[in-house]
């Protein structure tokens, strides 16, 4: 009894607060609270189809072989992972009920959920987990790098697996919250081989139904899902809509219920004023900016790099290019990450300061460089703004727009002076910094090498205590904001728009949509 009164009281207070916020003209996330105030939280309803707009096709529906973020979008519904991240960025158990980590950080013992079955009836057990680890550490799998620290996987009993690492590796659990931790059916893989990607089988809340290349991917409810009462929806249809402006139109017409995280920022204001929609505009794990090639002039001169850094008006970039849906950036760690610190605050833009720096570096007359970038409208706008900002200190920036694949290729080969490439981000800080700055790291396109940095980022990935790790990353960033092998612009928000009759959506910082708890009315 008293419980119900409490709920009503809270609901009334929320309602009042919302009314007040609305009266003050505050936009905020009003969203679905008005009906929440009427009938408490509203009880979830079963049935219905969720239409999800995907801004590119998902090329390979096999977690072991996928290398596209769009695959990851679809995987969230078909596959369960050993663990997941929650809305606070913490690693939480899923198919692994819990786990023990040995004191030396080398042995992980996973205790598995019992009684779980794959969509094809195969039992989920320790053998299946071992099968998946073996498959993902195969030389042919793109997952191999993520699991490079895995030395041995042994089946202890039917529901216990032991994973031994060759050295302590702090990001290990967070890596299992993504493709490397998704469990595929061993029977299906053996039967289908290469064809598995065309009819993937997992343990997730939805089963794969059909796929039409470049058009749609349809999933149906897994009636035997191991989590009681879930999922609510009958089916999910991913509609491939490459033009995000078309996604916006489809939301308005009701053809689409929810967008992916690429909702066009120009439309945010428009949809926020529409009571039929909820805009989720949240920080993500990514960073944007450009690599400077420090193996050749002009950026072998540290002062040239520092001058660019202090000339950039990042606030203007966020306002104009992203319509405010981004946070200015100055480090590899976005605000949600535990390693995020003061290093992420960029310097105040100053032409005088830049001129001083240039003079110190013997570049009184400025210098000229070429900035290579992809030919998207957003990237073009950034380039033109930077060009104008640098011009004020006598730095001439030529813009070269090239196709994305070519840009990536030339950047990898070092055929550039400045190259605009961002990073979509991962939950663990190690995965956002290590390969970028470690000598000869796989994404160290700047050709940066600094013994102290190598030591710090290696120590940070071996350290299991979060506070100590943060201290190590703080020390690394202190050097990096002076060295500047990469110039940051902003951390882009994930912007997702859904119709107000979609409920139960929880935003996770990777921007992917978990569908098990979503329901429609």
């Amino acid at each position: 009894m008293s419980k119900r009164i409490k709920v009503l009281l809270v609901a009334a207070m929320v309602g009042l607060a919302m009314l007040f916020a609305a009266a003050c003209g505050g936009g905020g996330d009003v969203g679905d609270t008005p009906d929440g105030a009427e009938d408490g939280d509203g009880s979830p309803q079963y049935g219905g189809t969720l239409n999800v707009a995907l801004s590119s096709d998902a090329p390979r529906l096999d977690p072991g072989l996928s290398s596209s973020v769009y695959d990851r979008y679809v995987f969230q519904s078909i596959f369960d992972k050993l663990a997941d991240i929650d809305e606070n960025g913490e690693v939480v158990p899923v198919l692994a009920k819990n786990w023990d980590v040995s004191d030396d950080g080398l042995t992980y013992t996973f205790h598995l959920q019992e009684g779980v079955k794959f969509h094809d009836g195969t039992d989920f057990n320790a053998e299946a987990v071992k099968f998946n680890f073996d498959r993902n550490t195969d030389p042919a799998s793109p997952r191999r790098g993520e699991l490079a620290a895995v030395k041995e996987v042994t089946v202890v009993d039917e529901y216990t697996v032991e994973v031994v690492l060759s050295e302590p590796f702090a990001p290990f659990l967070s890596i299992l919250t993504d493709r490397a931790g998704m469990m595929v059916s061993p029977t299906a893989v053996e039967e289908l081989g290469e064809d598995f990607a065309n009819s993937p089988v997992g343990t997730g809340p939805f089963k794969f139904e059909s796929l039409m290349k470049g058009n749609n991917i349809t999933l149906v409810k897994n009636e035997d899902y191991w989590q009681d009462g879930l999922p609510y929806l009958d089916s999910i249809v991913f509609k491939i809509i490459t033009d995000t402006n078309v996604t916006a139109t489809n939301l308005k017409s009701g053809q689409v219920d929810i967008s992916d995280w690429r909702f066009p920022t120009k439309e945010i204001a428009n949809f926020e004023n529409d009571d039929n929609f909820v805009i989720v505009n949240e920080a993500s794990q990514n960073y944007n900016g450009f690599y400077l090639n420090i193996s050749k002039p002009p950026f072998d001169n540290k002062h040239a790099r520092q001058a660019l850094d202090v000339l950039m008006d990042r606030e203007a970039l966020v306002d104009l290019v992203k319509d405010g849906a981004a946070t200015v950036a100055h480090s590899y760690f976005s605000p949600g990450c535990f390693a995020h610190g003061d290093s992420d605050i960029p310097p105040e833009p100053s032409v005088e300061k830049a001129k001083e720096i240039l003079a110190e570096g013997g570049l009184e007359d400025g210098f000229t460089f070429t900035y290579k970038t992809a030919a998207t409208p957003e990237q073009q706008q950034i380039a033109e703004m930077l060009q104008s900002m640098f011009k004020e200190a006598g730095i001439t920036m030529n813009i070269e727009q090239i196709e994305f694949g070519t840009l990536l290729d030339q950047t990898i080969k070092g055929e550039f002076e400045a190259a605009a490439l961002g990073w979509s981000g991962r939950p663990d800080p190690d995965q956002n910094i290590f390969d970028d700055v470690f000598t000869d790291g796989s994404m160290n396109y700047s050709r940066f090498s600094h013994p102290e940095i190598d030591e710090l980022v290696t120590a940070a990935r071996k350290e299991l205590d979060q506070d100590k790790r943060k201290a190590l990353y703080d020390d690394a960033m202190e050097i990096l904001v002076d060295e500047l092998p990469y110039i940051f612009t902003y951390h882009e928000n994930n912007v997702i728009c859904h119709s107000k009759n979609v409920h139960g959506f929880t935003y996770i910082s990777d921007g992917l949509i978990r569908t098990a708890e979503i329901w429609k009315d």
């Binding site: 120009k266 703004m385 104008s388």
Partner: protein, 300 residues
């Protein structure tokens, strides 16, 4: 494009003796041109374009590239900006004015290249004839003409790499076949006429005959083709810039401006109208002017 027309062969008897007739002929042609009102209108548009391009810094109130004003983006026409501002707060009018320079450059470079390469080839192959003409040059020309010109330009621009000049070369190459064809057809029409035979009879060399006697009589249709190609060049430059293969993005190319404006059609639709109108008028101008010249040279 234009079929060879019966030419002014009277003018080609012997240069010195014809001075008087030629003068009155020019006067007649000028009369024919000025009585064609549309042609005059075209001429005026072209003249305005040229003057705008030459005096751009004096006409434009703002710098076309660096006058970014982030507090003043996507403004509708009015106030300090008679055509409004773009997505970076730059004055649209100033960018349109400076865009005239790029358009003129585009037209001159690409068509110039086509004339310099196409006319001599057409002249020589048309005059010499035979296997090389019939089975090599003309078949290559056929092959080139089989591609839609924008696709050819796209492929070449992609192969040469981005940038304004590469784009202009790519467009120019696309124009070469039509210049070869037109010149060759003209040459074949006159190469066996009496005055050429006469020149040959008195022992003139082939080179002398080609460049002194044949070439001047092929120029009429070539000039028409030049003006009409200029219109196509303006469109092609706009098209390549629209696709991101032309001028560097900060340059005020009309095509590039259209490309940017497309993203703001819901927000500031007029942004797309101004460069569109500029392209429309200039292309119209070149076309009317070209038609006028064609009629002037070959009255039907």
């Amino acid at each position: 494009m234009s079929t060879p027309t019966p030419n002014l062969n009277a003018a080609a008897i012997a240069p010195q003796e014809m001075a008087f007739q030629r003068e009155s002929q020019w006067r007649m042609m000028l009369g024919r041109f000025t009585s064609n009102k549309l042609a005059v209108l075209g001429g005026i548009i072209v003249l305005i374009l040229v003057l705008t391009a030459v005096f751009a810094p004096y006409i434009a109130p703002y710098d076309p590239i660096y006058s970014q004003d982030y507090g003043n983006v996507l403004q509708p026409p009015g106030g300090n900006h008679i055509l409004g501002t773009d997505n970076l707060g730059r004055d649209t009018f100033s960018r349109i004015v400076f865009g005239a320079r790029l358009s003129i450059q585009a037209a001159l470079i690409s068509v110039g290249l086509a004339v310099v390469v196409g006319v001599p080839i057409g002249l020589i192959t048309g005059y010499v004839g035979g296997f090389w003409d019939e089975w090599v040059v003309m078949r290559v020309v056929d092959a080139l003409q089989a591609f839609p010109s924008l696709i050819l330009a796209l492929a070449m621009a992609a192969a040469l790499g981005g940038g304004f000049y590469n784009a202009m070369i790519a467009i120019g190459v696309g124009f070469i076949p039509s210049f070869i064809r037109i010149t060759r057809a003209q040459v074949m029409a006159v190469r066996n006429l009496e005055y050429v035979q006469a020149a040959r009879a008195i022992g003139s060399s082939d080179l002398r005959i080609m460049f002194l006697h044949v070439l001047p009589n092929t120029l009429g249709p070539v000039i028409v083709q030049v003006t009409l190609s200029m219109a196509s060049a303006v469109i092609a430059e706009a098209g390549l810039s629209y696709l991101g293969l032309g001028a560097s993005p900060e340059q005020p190319s009309w095509g590039g401006m259209l490309h940017v404006a497309q993203g703001y059609l819901n927000v500031e639709p007029l942004m797309a109208v101004w460069p569109g109108l500029a392209i429309f008028f200039v292309v119209l101008g070149f076309n009317l002017f070209g038609d006028g010249i064609r009629e002037m040279l070959s009255p039907q």
